[in-house]
């Protein structure tokens, strides 16, 4: 059977499963549409949260980033998991007790202001729309490589599938498909990793293999990798970083951003009790950790595998002849994600770090520059081919990558559509809308959101790559502090909260625009985006944490010179702090 046919079976099979679940789990009420009826088991919700959270970026890009950056990119590992500690202790149980449907719901009620609610809706929509574009383009890439259709065609297929289960089932359909998608993506991610770990270190579990002996050379894997990359002019894989302030702030931004992303928060509205919300955050992290503990192993092993492929006799010997390159390089060259240029005309593929420090050595060996460019994103997708794994593993990776992209896209689309139908339409424009009318409005907003996301995925604005920074920055600087202050302080009033959110939002977006271009229009950046230009060495990606501090400070300052919140609001804060009565709070 051809590889194409195998991929087709895996992808079509998984899609059929998602659609079957959608038909089985149709939503009959707004409560089912927004929060799956509020009866999802905490372990199941943990699994759905893991799929909701782990996007194309986690599945496809993260291992590649770590592979290239080594220790320095551990920020992604800590940052994208540490936020769950904040969620479990600072947000999820109290918001579950509050017992409504959306994040702006809480902000609007707690700060007794439709202004605050609208600011929250705006932050939510900007953060979620930018995030969803990345998912749609990710799905398009996976499709075009594995199913040999154009990426536009792939995107439309993906959109139709999401449309079917998200519009029909709402949160209920999304929850059960996310559970299925989690299983698909985690199996797809771990199987090739186990094979590679066995090949390189004779260890079954990749996270253990990472710190084990490299079978072939008899030295520890990471030490071997350090030696190989050093010989080729790269920085040591395990090397420490100089700019620790930026590393701390970047990690913190990712953590706060994770805790502040609305599509993650609303997952905790679906469990039956406050106690379940706490357990559920733990289970979510367990399921996430299975991938996040595997990723750094995949990263280092794939890097070593790549180097061994190019330098079969070791980095000090000659590189491989271009004509003898393995099939996987040929396959990925077609997609343009691997490029070869024979700069010194010797017919061999020299892969090294062409820096001034390395120039002398390069000249000695007759090298005239790095000849192979490998896109970070292909690492996980090409992993099975690099390790010569059977065809069905490649098919599995295809289905896994799509599961990761689609599950996150569906969660984001639900967050967007519920903000529109529940917060904008029912909350502001037409408060007297009937239950049936609101459900219809929710479905229509979902459909519109999918069409917009598909359009943006096909015509990604030039800034697609930078948008994730914006999504995390906004979630960290505006949504997270507002929610946390709403729960932990009775003194923050509506003026303080609104000023704080706006200050956090504006300072963060302005800092990002300064370096990445105003409104991301190419060529309009005020400063070149290089470390020497960053204020205090803080990169635009790391600014969310600073924005959050600005938000907290402004909110406290403004609240302390203006009036106290009314008594019924102080009572509301008191009530979210205590679990008793959560069951009744749901039926409003």
């Amino acid at each position: 059977m051809s590889q194409f046919a195998i991929n087709m079976i895996f992808v079509v099979g998984s899609f059929a499963l998602y659609i079957a679940i959608a038909i089985w789990a149709r939503a009959g009420s707004t409560k089912e549409f927004y929060v799956a009826g509020g009866g999802v088991h905490p372990v199941m919700n943990g699994m759905a949260t893991a799929a909701d959270w782990m996007s194309a970026a986690s599945f496809i890009s993260m291992a590649g980033l770590i592979s290239v950056g080594g220790y320095a990119n551990s920020t992604y590992l800590m940052g994208w998991t540490g936020g769950y500690v904040l969620l479990a202790m600072l947000l999820a149980p109290y918001l579950r007790k509050f017992g409504k449907f959306t994040v702006p719901d809480f902000i609007g009620d707690r700060f007794y202001s439709s202004g605050a609610r609208l600011v929250a809706v705006a932050c939510l929509i900007i953060a979620s729309v930018t995030y969803v574009i990345g998912q749609m383009t990710g799905a398009g890439v996976a499709f075009s490589r594995f199913l040999e259709v154009s990426s536009d065609m792939g995107l439309i297929i993906a959109a139709v599938v999401v449309f079917m289960y998200a519009v029909l089932g709402g949160m209920k359909g999304i929850t059960y498909t996310q559970v299925a998608q989690y299983v698909v993506l985690i199996v797809a991610y771990t199987i090739p990793a186990v094979f590679i770990s066995l090949q390189l270190t004779d260890t079954l579990l990749p996270p253990v293999g990472l710190f084990s002996e490299h079978t072939q050379s008899g030295v520890p894997l990471l030490q071997k990798l350090d030696e190989v990359v050093r010989e080729l002019g790269f920085v040591d894989y395990t090397a420490d970083v100089d700019n620790k302030l930026n590393m701390v702030l970047f990690t913190l931004s990712l953590m706060i951003g994770t805790a502040g992303l609305p599509h993650v928060i609303i997952r905790f509205f679906t469990v039956p009790k406050v106690a379940d919300a706490r357990w559920s955050a733990g289970w979510a992290l367990v399921f996430i950790a299975i991938l996040y503990l595997t990723a750094p192993a995949v990263a280092s092993m794939a890097r070593l595998n790549l180097m061994t492929t190019i330098y079969p006799a070791g980095p000090t010997a000659d590189a491989i002849q271009y004509t003898e390159r393995p099939d996987w390089i040929k396959n990925w060259e077609k997609t343009g994600l691997i490029k070869f240029e024979d700069l010194n005309g010797d017919g061999r593929i020299q892969l090294y770090n062409h820096t001034p420090q390395f120039a002398e050595k390069a000249a000695e060996r007759g090298w005239k520059g790095n000849e192979l460019t490998v896109n970070n994103d292909i690492l996980v997708l090409a992993n099975p081919e690099i390790a010569n794994l059977p065809g069905w593993v490649v098919g599995l990776i295809a289905a896994g990558g799509l599961a990761a992209a689609l599950s996150t896209a569906a969660g984001l689309l639900l967050a967007i559509s519920s903000a529109v139908s529940h917060d904008l339409i029912k909350g502001s424009i037409n408060p007297n809308i009937s239950e049936k009318g609101e459900l219809r409005a929710a479905r229509i907003s979902m459909a519109v959101a999918i069409v917009v996301a598909t359009y943006l995925g096909m015509n990604p604005p030039g800034f697609a790559a930078q948008t994730v920074a914006l999504a995390f920055g906004i979630a960290a600087a505006s949504i997270f502090p507002a929610l946390m202050m709403g729960i932990f302080s009775k003194r923050i009033n509506s003026k303080g909260a609104i000023c704080g959110m706006l200050a956090g939002l504006i300072s963060t977006t302005v800092y990002i625009f300064l370096f990445l271009g105003w409104f991301f229009i190419p060529g309009t950046a005020s400063y070149e985006n290089i470390p020497a230009n960053w204020f205090f060495g803080i990169s635009p990606l790391s600014f969310g944490a600073v924005g959050a501090m600005i938000n907290f400070t402004v909110a406290f300052a403004v609240s302390s010179v203006t009036e106290k919140p009314p008594v019924h609001i102080q009572d509301l804060v008191e009530s979210v702090r205590f679990p008793r009565g959560a069951g009744t709070a749901v039926d409003h």
């Binding site: 551990s74 800590m78 998991t81 084990s212 990471l222 071997k224 590393m247 701390v248 950790a289 205590f578």
Partner: protein, 87 residues
């Protein structure tokens, strides 16, 4: 009512104390051992590299999981002790 209020106050203080302890540990393993204190841990070897690298790529994540489950277990118990749990 006064008793209730006192009780509620004590429950909330216990929760805050637990959160602070957990977040101190959270900070120490990630920002401490994983990033800022890594040079101090450089002497402790783990599989071809040092303990700081292990904390940055595995240790912190494992600690987070332990922290959340500990917090959930402890809080669900406190809910009952203070009589604020959901029946």
């Amino acid at each position: 009512m006064a008793d209730d209020k006192h009780n509620a106050q004590a429950y909330w203080q216990a929760n805050l104390r637990l959160i602070i302890i957990s977040l101190v540990i959270w900070t120490v393993v990630s920002y401490g051992f994983g990033i800022l204190l890594r040079p101090l841990l450089a002497g402790i070897e783990v599989g071809g590299t040092d303990l700081g690298f292990w904390f940055a790529q595995q240790g912190s994540i494992l600690t987070y999981i332990a922290l959340i489950f500990f917090y959930a277990w402890r809080m669900n118990k406190l809910d009952k002790e203070y009589g604020v749990d959901e029946e």
